[in-house]
Symmetry: C2
Subunit: 184 residues, 2 copies
């Protein structure tokens, strides 16, 4: 499939930030022409589909400055340098929600915006939660924990309060899982 | 829920590009402390879950410079300035795959990376495809069209060739849809 490849001719670093870097690459297209690609480098992240003993989904409500509004998401967070994704998922779950879990199952990984960013999210699943202490988010992070039924989650999707890709995926995942269990 | 809000103190434009802009905002956190937010502005995009008359999913295989590899995605593209999302979806479907459709149903919209970007994807569904001409992608866009069964799509997810959020969502959407139809 080499007829699709783009060759890097040069890379210019425009910005190196706290969370993201921006670089501009000049590339040679498959037809020999040149073009520019704007690329965001991101450390990657984890997200957790967490089901409580009452069979509810665990969400966090959080203000997102990029959107200038509050949205509802599954617990998630950025990878520290060289951090194992599973360890990161356990850490973020505890920090954001105050829950630990006995088993954390790896589900899948996906890029969030492959057109311009290399952010990769690793998705985990747990239904063995143990509440153990107050949430302890990062010093610049403020969030409310929510526990909602699947039906309530589907309403939040319809109301556009659940409004991001990983959480829409998570609700659908749980919907499909229960559907398959019911018909097993 | 004002206890979660962040107030903008200042905004600095770092980069204005072809597709994305980068700005740094100084914000006041809910506890009165200050922090910085790195924010990517993006025009928004559409993506289409398209089912062929043979009940196959329509994908495009494309080299993504941000990842330096080829991945498989549902047809998608950026909104032009002031473009209606549905018109954009019809345009992108035709340009990328050579298909037109009679009915295009709006499904949902989600942010791809609310932690640092305002990119919003509008997702559409069609199973009324009419092949009408050769694909005509943008001048800097090279892609292969693929038509795969749902079972093949699930294998592509497992092989990490389907490796982005909107496409993972699309495969799961179709899986859930067929499951519900089978048990209706």
């Amino acid at each position: 499939m080499e007829h699709l490849n783009e060759k890097t001719l040069s890379t210019e670093s425009v910005y190196e930030g706290k969370i993201i870097d921006l670089e501009i690459q000049e590339v040679e297209l498959p037809n020999g022409n040149k073009s520019k690609r704007e690329i965001i480098r991101h450390p990657g992240a984890v997200a957790i589909i967490a089901i409580t003993p009452e069979n509810k989904l665990l969400f966090v409500r959080q203000f997102r400055k990029a959107l200038d509004k509050i949205i509802v998401e599954i617990p998630a967070g950025k990878l520290e340098k060289d951090e194992d994704p599973k360890k990161c998922a356990e850490r973020e779950l505890l920090e954001e929600t105050g829950y630990e879990c006995e088993n954390l199952e790896y589900l899948t990984s996906f890029y969030t915006s492959p057109g311009f960013a290399d952010e990769l999210i690793h998705l985990f699943y747990t239904d063995s939660l143990k509440e153990c202490r107050e949430q302890q988010p990062d010093e610049d992070e403020f969030l409310d924990v929510m526990e909602v039924t699947l039906e309530e989650a589907l309403e939040l999707v319809n109301d556009q309060q659940i409004h991001d890709a990983k959480t829409a995926y998570a609700v659908q995942y749980e919907q499909l899982k229960r559907k398959m269990e019911n018909h097993a």
